[in-house]
């Protein structure tokens, strides 16, 4: 598993894909349920206590069961970097799953935009 081949890749997009030894249903739990999510994703859920923390923050903004989940991602060290992390799942035979993570997107689509549309979510910029 390595970042996707750089040839033809957008400079502002990072892709990691691999086969997982788990069915989409099980992966789905890890991708959407706390505390599994915070464990592997390595960020803090947006809008919760600890706004003063420095690490990356995330929020699930789209979830299509067993096939696609999108997280708005804000890294305070790179506030203007691509703000969307998308995970796509594809069912394989034998209870396995093809997993693809893409980090990209334009500044308009991320947590900052999410915040603008839903005032209750307070996110330390």
């Amino acid at each position: 598993m390595t970042p996707a081949d750089e040839a033809g890749m957008k400079p502002e997009e990072i892709v990691v894909e691999c086969e997982m030894a788990a069915a989409p249903e099980k992966l789905w739990r890890a991708l959407t349920e706390e505390p599994f999510l915070a464990d592997w994703l390595g960020g803090e859920p947006a809008g919760e206590k600890g706004e003063e923390r420095n690490g990356p923050r995330y929020q699930v903004v789209e979830a299509e069961p067993y096939s696609r989940v999108r997280y708005a991602w804000l890294d305070p060290d790179h506030p203007d970097a691509p703000p969307m992390v998308t995970v796509e799942l594809e069912r394989l035979s034998g209870g396995r799953t093809w997993f693809r993570l893409t980090h990209g997107g334009s500044a308009e689509s991320g947590l900052v935009a999410v915040n603008r549309n839903s005032p209750p979510l307070a996110l330390a910029a």
């Binding site: 970042p3 400079p11 502002e12 990691v16 890890a30 203007d80 980090h103 500044a107």
Partner: protein, 104 residues
């Protein structure tokens, strides 16, 4: 110039093509336009965006303007890429381990 301008400048395929052409070396406006299939005003517009993002530099010599890459302008993007190209593979490894732990 800030990081947001840089990412926005890079989000356009024509502007990425302009940067790729400049990887070959310094070019004037006419040389830059060759093969891009767009009008000179359109090229100028893209060049202006790239300049204000600090990604290319221009140098006047006589009647010609020469454009070249400004490598330090890309530093914030390279910094981000370096961080997340290392970050995501390690997080995906953690996810694999987590899937195993979920069985127990």
């Amino acid at each position: 110039m800030n990081e947001s301008d840089i990412f926005r400048a890079l989000s356009d395929p024509t502007r990425r093509a302009v940067l790729e052409r400049l990887l070959e070396g310094e070019k004037n406006a006419t040389e830059l336009r060759e093969g891009l299939g767009i009008s000179q005003p359109a090229v100028s517009q893209h060049v202006a965006v790239l300049r204000s993002a600090g990604l290319i530099a221009e140098k006047k010599s006589g009647r010609h303007v020469h454009y070249s890459l400004s490598p330090e302008g890309l530093a914030p993007v390279l910094d981000w890429l370096a961080r997340y190209r290392a970050y995501w593979p390690s997080r995906v490894e953690r996810l694999k381990a987590l899937l195993k732990e979920m069985d127990q």
